[in-house]
């Protein structure tokens, strides 16, 4: 979970957006974290690098919980 938060915060920080302190399963990637499609594209690359799974491969991922299910953490 910490690693996932780290990835998300790095994406936010790279474009000088405010980072998040905690992530929760019910958080929406777009509405709560503020990711646009470019951010999601970047997210999937970093997540795949660390966890070996392309989270968007077979459909859209909405929330932190969805990611956790896909990568099994």
């Amino acid at each position: 979970m910490d690693k996932l938060k780290e990835i998300i915060n790095e994406i936010l920080d790279n474009s000088e957006r405010e980072t998040i302190k905690n992530i929760r399963d019910d958080m929406s990637l777009t509405d709560d974290i503020g990711f646009d499609s470019l951010d999601l594209a970047e997210l999937t690359v970093h997540v795949e690098k660390v966890f070996g799974i392309d989270i968007f491969e077979d459909g859209f991922v909405e929330s932190i919980g969805d990611i956790r299910k896909k990568i099994g953490i």
Binding site: N14, S15, A41, E42, D54
Partner: protein
């Protein structure tokens, strides 16, 4: 002192025109080792052009070469992508844009291309048909290149933007250089500006040539126009440059028009003025938006400390492709700094989301940046 024909530090080759005439007349041997050298390649080409005829001197040799009939050479497209393709050129199609005149007699050429590819052969024939000296600079280090420019008073260099980029930075000036030609890759204003400082007496040219067509257009910036004699043979359709088969080498083209895969931006329709944007297969589609890697590379290269950069697309499950950049920097730069630098210079979908800092950006055999 006998005039130098070819100097190549790598294989210890130092051939004068006097040596060359003796070799061609069978009065001297030429072979250095078991592997083929650039000197071997050049001498073989001249031999086949002369078809065994003896020559009385340099002027006679040039005259006989220019009368060569039924001569052709097979070249292979280097292919930054795809499979190499065989293209057969005649002497005329290969030397169409070679300029011979008395005031070119003392030019000294730096060879910065593989001699068996189109661009290297253009340099070879330009020098040979004017009786000039050729100094090999291809595959040499920055230090050696500058050393040879000074030692031989090189006046002309034709090379890729990547080659010139490797000569930067440099605090010295080299006044002997009269002409710098960019070719083979998209022209870069930034590199050209920096190069002009090192070679203050140089006229800067930009040339469009391909293995299929040979040398076709030149320009003194990034906007090209078409010489009158080529107007009927050049077209732009859907922003792609098309060339008629009558001015191409032979490679089994079906139809009359060859689709170059070079995408252009039209600046003026009549007379036609255009700028090269990218290779068709280099355009990256990011969620429906087209991105030219060259545009992104040009802007990243303006960031201080960036020495070389290559931009490419990687398949991505969210957007189809994601823009990536491999950056070779002279000192450490943060990924965030690059992104912030690009923020107000490029649309957001053009900004690389994956940035890797690498020791060296990889090159192809012809000295072009290798896209992954």
């Amino acid at each position: 002192m006998d005039k130098l024909f070819f100097y190549n530090q790598i294989d210890n080759e130092n051939i004068t025109y006097r040596d060359l005439i003796m070799i061609l007349n069978g009065k001297a041997d030429y072979h250095i080792g078991t592997s083929q050298t650039y000197g071997d390649i050049f001498i073989n080409i001249i031999r086949t052009l002369l078809q065994g005829k003896p020559v009385t001197g340099v002027t006679d040799m040039i005259l006989k070469i220019r009368r060569a009939k039924d001569w052709n050479i097979n070249l292979y497209t280097s292919g930054t992508t795809g499979i190499p393709k065989k293209v057969t050129h005649s002497f005329d199609s290969l030397t169409r844009e070679i300029k011979v005149s008395r005031d070119r007699a003392e030019d000294i050429w730096g060879l910065a291309y593989n001699p068996m590819h189109m661009a290297g052969l253009q340099v070879f024939f330009q020098a040979l048909l004017n009786g000039n000296s050729i100094i090999n600079l291809f595959k040499l280090s920055k230090k050696n290149i500058y050393k040879l420019i000074e030692q031989f008073n090189i006046t002309h260099i034709s090379a890729t933007a990547t080659f010139y980029r490797q000569l930067l930075p440099c605090n010295k000036i080299f006044p002997s250089i009269k002409q710098i030609t960019f070719g083979g890759e998209k022209y870069s204003d930034k590199v050209s500006g920096e190069i002009k400082k090192i070679f203050p007496n140089a006229r800067i040219l930009n040339i469009y040539a391909s293995t299929e067509a040979g040398s076709l257009f030149t320009s003194n910036g990034d906007i090209f126009w078409i010489k009158d004699r080529y107007i009927p043979f050049v077209r732009v359709v859907d922003n792609e440059l098309l060339i008629h088969k009558d001015i191409l080498g032979e490679f089994g083209l079906s139809g009359d028009w060859y689709h170059t895969g070079d995408m252009v931006e039209i600046i003026n329709i009549n007379p036609l003025r255009f700028r090269f944007v990218a290779r068709k297969n280099e355009i990256i589609n990011v969620g429906g938006y087209n991105v030219s890697p060259h545009e992104v590379e040009e802007i990243i290269s303006k960031y201080p400390k960036v020495k070389n950069v290559v931009v490419y697309g990687k398949p991505n499950s969210v957007l189809g492709n994601i823009i990536c950049a491999d950056i070779e920097a002279v000192a450490s730069i943060g990924q965030k700094n690059i992104r912030l630098f690009l923020k107000d210079k490029l649309a957001d979908y053009k900004i690389p989301r994956i940035i890797n800092f690498v020791d060296k950006v990889e090159m192809t055999e012809t000295g072009k940046v290798k896209r992954i």
